[in-house]
Every structure is written in C-alpha cells, then in structure tokens.
Symmetry: C2
C-alpha cells in the first residue's frame, strides 16, 4: 500500500520530504496555495483533497501544464460535467470521486452512494479526463478513543471505498486508486484489503487529541508553542502566559476526551493538570489542580505548550524552529522549516 501523506498539517516542504522518504512521493494538500508551494518544492503527484469547483480548474490546469500531476476530488455530477467540458480544450484532469464513509462531511454517502456510476461514467467518458479512483476521509475516527473503536471506523472506511471501487469496476470503468486515510485509522486498522493508498496527516507532529485517542504515546508530540510567564495571580491560583487564542488557536478538540487539557497543556509541568484553561487574543490563563508553583516559575519563565490540534495551531506561524530539547530558550535551534499559509 502506498503512503500519500496529507501535508495540510505541516505545510512545509522539509517535513514533506521526510514524510515521503522511502515512499513514491505522492502527497495530499488542502489548498491551492499548498499545491503551488509543494509543486515548487519538487513534489509531482499531488492530490488536492477538498472538493473542486469549476472556478478553480484554471489554477489546476496551470500546474498540470507544468508537469505536476495535480489531482482533484468531486462528489457532484454537475462538477464532473464541468471538468469534462474543461478538458475539451485539450487539457487533462485526474479526478477522484469522494465517498462519505460515515464521517458526514464530503462525499457520496455509503452505502447508497447516489450518482456514483453516473459521475464515474462522465469522468471516464471524457477525453483527457482520468478517473483516478475513489477516496474518503474517516473523520469520525477522531471521536473514538480505543483501538477497537478506531478499528471499527477503519473497517467502515475500507468497506465504503472498496465497495465503491468494485461498483465502478463492475460498470466496466477502471478505478485504479482506492484511497483511505486518517492518522487514527492508519494506526489501528486491522485490514487494508483493497485499499491502495492511505493519507494520514497529523501523525507527522501528533498532538494532545491524537495522544488521548491513542494514535501516539504522550511523549510523541513533536509540536509545541514556546511562551513566557507574564503574570502571577495568587488570589485565583493562576498565571498568565503570552500565548493566547492566536498563538494556540481556539481548537479544543482534545477536550472531548479530557476537559482538563484546556487550550493546551504545559509540557513537563511542575504541578498537576497545568494547562491553559482560557484564552484571550494574546493572553493564556494557566491553571493547575495543585497550588501554583510561583516560586519555581517566576515572571519570564519559558514554558512549552502542547496544542490540542497541531494542524490548527501550526497555522498561526510562518516557520518552525526545530530544537533538540525542551525548555532550552531557543539556544539549540538546529534548523528552521518554512510553511505555506493562506489560500
């Protein structure tokens, strides 16, 4: 099975190159800005994994004419016809049909998948258009927190896309790629039969949410936000740090499994349940179940905050400072990786 990592998490060519090392180099992106950036960084097989609209086809064509196999996704017959129309001028497209395997986001809902064969016929029948395959994202795996629960979602994911591919093939239409993927299902699936590639993303960094649902261990979180203690408030057993809603994001997905993580926990915290429990734009409110250790954490103390959701927190930054150890105050930055933000 091939790996097509979703690089929307890191949005960084340096991380992307590490992710595809030992694999064939195919990747997934979530914006046209990422597609252009990774194309410029040498990536050639790129799946733009958010439902395409006709107005974006010229941007797709622009990269495809440069030799980038930028592939698109649809679940809509009208859009499929627009793609077929756009290809009449001599341009080519490579298209995935998206299946909703139970997550309830994009895709033709399994098991009915209404219109699946109609869309497949329009794409397959259009000169210059390749029906690349079927794809799904089992986003509902994020709401399971046991290997058994995630494995059950993984089996739904597999069944949906393998069934879709079989239906298309039964109609006499090739369906070469059967693409699944999420970090939890890639980690805990017990059967990949029929799947040809997986597209996990957040595994490149991991985060509190992934640790809590069991995709990684508590020591496997590669991303943190460096902040400073800026205030002591003994009358309410809190401190403030200079990292708030913009530095951490307001994503609290991990609270589904552990409300005490707040907007992020303090790495190597000197007291119990130390976390950012509230945020304003540039202020983070740090609380603890223990008395706050003010003596050990004077104003100016640097702390590392582990985020709920790495993809969303990282988006506040235009680069990564790669360090070898924690709480070093920036003294052992060994590399800087860039990022592509925006659209």
């Amino acid at each position: 099975m091939a790996l097509r990592p979703h690089l929307k998490t890191a949005k960084s060519v340096q991380v992307g190159r590490m992710a595809v090392e030992g694999h064939d180099g195919r990747i997934t992106v979530s914006t046209l800005a990422e597609a252009r950036y990774f194309a410029a960084g040498g990536f050639r097989d790129i799946l733009y994994g958010v439902g395409i609209i006709p107005a974006k086809l010229p941007a797709i064509t622009e990269l495809r004419r440069q030799g980038i196999n930028l592939r698109v996704v649809t679940d809509n017959l009208t859009v499929a016809r627009s793609i077929a129309d756009a290809a009449r001028g001599g341009d080519t497209f490579s298209v995935f049909i998206e299946i909703d395997s139970g997550g309830g986001r994009a895709g033709l809902p399994f098991p009915d998948m209404p219109g699946l064969i109609d869309i497949a016929r329009v794409l397959h029948g259009a000169p210059g258009v390749e029906l690349a395959g079927v794809m799904t994202h089992a986003g509902h795996s994020y709401h399971q927190s046991t290997p058994d629960g995630i494995a059950a979602v993984a089996e739904q994911e597999r069944l949906a896309i393998v069934t879709a591919a079989e239906k298309i093939r039964a109609a006499g239409i090739p369906c070469p790629i059967v693409s699944g993927g999420s970090t939890p299902t890639a980690t805990w699936s017990r059967d990949f039969t029929g799947i040809t590639e997986m597209r996990p993303g957040v595994y490149v960094f991991n985060d509190l949410d992934q640790a809590l649902i069991g995709s990684c261990g508590p020591e496997d979180l590669a991303l943190s936000v460096l902040a400073s203690v800026i205030g002591h408030y003994p009358h309410r057993n809190q401190m403030l740090v200079d990292a708030g809603a913009l530095a951490l994001s307001k994503d609290v997905s991990a609270q589904e499994f552990q409300p005490k993580v707040g907007y992020g926990t303090i790495a190597h915290a000197p007291s119990k349940d130390m976390a950012v429990v509230e945020c304003s734009q540039e202020h983070g409110f740090v609380a603890s179940s223990d008395p706050m250790p003010y003596g050990n954490m004077p104003i100016g103390t640097r702390v590392r905050i582990l985020p709920n959701h790495a993809c969303i927190t990282a988006a506040a930054y235009d680069r990564y400072y790669v360090v070898d150890s924690d709480l070093d105050g920036g003294k052992s930055i060994v590399d800087i990786y860039d990022r592509i933000n925006g659209w």
Copy 2:
C-alpha cells in the same frame, strides 16, 4: 477624553490611520511585531498592552531609541524593579500599572489592588522611568448583552482605574493617564469622569459578537470571509463551503448569546439561520432551519461569512480586500490593506 484605539483587531496601518483621524495618534498594540510595524508606519505613541517581561525590554529600548514612545504595562513589583534596573544604563521607559477591574485577566485586582503603591513608588522613583498612569481592560463587558448590563461593567471599569489613580496621587506620585476601554464599555458607559483615554479595538470592524451584545447594529459588520459552495448534501440538508477552521477560526464567542451563529453566519442568506455549524480545517458545514435552497446556490456560489470575533478571524489573513458591495465576486475591490501577523 483621548482615543487610543487597540489596533490588535485590524493590525493594519491603513485602518490605524483612519482610526486616529481627528485624534492625537496614540494607539495600543498587543505584540512587539505590531509595535515595530506601526512604528514603521509613522505612529509615535504606542502602548504595548500585554504585561511586559524583562526579556522583552531590549526590544522596547530599541524602538524608544528611534523616538517612538513605546509604553509598557506591568502589575508586578519584581518586573517594576527590573524596569528600574534596566533604566540605570540611561535608557528611559514609560510604564502603566494594570488594574483588574473585574474581568479577571491581568492587573491588580480591584478594590484591594495589593502592591499598587509599592509598584508606583519603584517606577516613580527610578530615574529615566515615567509612571504614565493606570490602565484596565473590562473584558467582562463582552458577557453582557444589554445597555444597562454593559453600563454597569463600564462603571466598575471607571471606578477601578479612577480609584487606583487617586490612591497613587494621594501618595504624592503623579498619575497622568487613566486608561480604560473595550468596545462595549466605550459604547455604553454613562460616565467617563476621571478617565483620560479609552482603548476600544474591535469597533473598527465589529462582528457577530458585538452585534449580539449591542455594540453595533446588524448592518455594521465590516469584515467577512468570502467562500465558495463546494458541495450539496441533501440527505442531511447541508452544504459545504471552502472556508473552515483556518479561514474562520474556531472562535465561537457569539454562541454565548445565539448558538445558531455557529462559526459564522451567511450574509444576506436566502434561508433562515444559515450558518457554518461545524468546521474542519478547510471545510465549513453550512446548515439552515429551512430546507436548503440548493437551486439558488449551485456549486461555486460565492458567499460572505460574518465571523464571531473579527480579531481572531482576521489573523488568518495577511491582507484585506476592501470592497464596496457584497457578493460581488471580487469585481469591485477598491483597495488592499496590509496586516502584520506573528509576534
């Protein structure tokens, strides 16, 4: 009374210049990056409104040596002493003492304000250090939604800083500036006696939260996110748009007063309560209390989404496209304003 707008909302010199038009040009910022950017843009009296720490003093000095009156804030005796020490080398500082007027974020908690006079004495007694005054942010005004409720918070705000200033003056120490401010209290306060400046911020754009609490009318929202319909899902009466958690932010502050706003409402919506009710990174789930008008909103339809909290949503972008009318597809962009993000 002077206006010292908090430019953390817009983070844009063009907006900043409009905000200070007819006033004396003093502003507030929330990051050192903003301070440098607005200084380069010609602003000379800048309050860095997030509690200062000693490690940031060299950056303050660097701008002050360029003739920028970059002022800082503290509520901590140890920090006050560090500022006094830093001034011994001949550099100058202008410092506000922060008061907690009831919001429970930074500041010496009113009415006790423990250490107020000690901090004032250290700052006033240090050659090269000016005690500029006292300041507060009545953040709790955001949780009121009636003129009376907000006016009550405004009176707490006024009482806290005016009392603090009087205590300092009673100790024989000058306290020239008495600085309050939030958009709701600036709008609904009934008595500004003793206050010398106000620091509202979000009023430059307004947002769903401000509209719901009554700081502005429903037609006063200047900021929106332009997105496209990318999918139709009649089996669950939803659409998807290509604006998700990164484009809108995960701030849901306005849900405190109206849960149906979700992550943002659709401007000029053709059906009832049409809003982004769920977000993944690049997907927004649009729902409505009515049957979804798919026929009027084919794939590719552009929609404008009004955000919960303008300050947080705007931070995902590096510029503003200034348009004259809604839903114009970008055809009447009359200007582009830049922004400073990061720290």
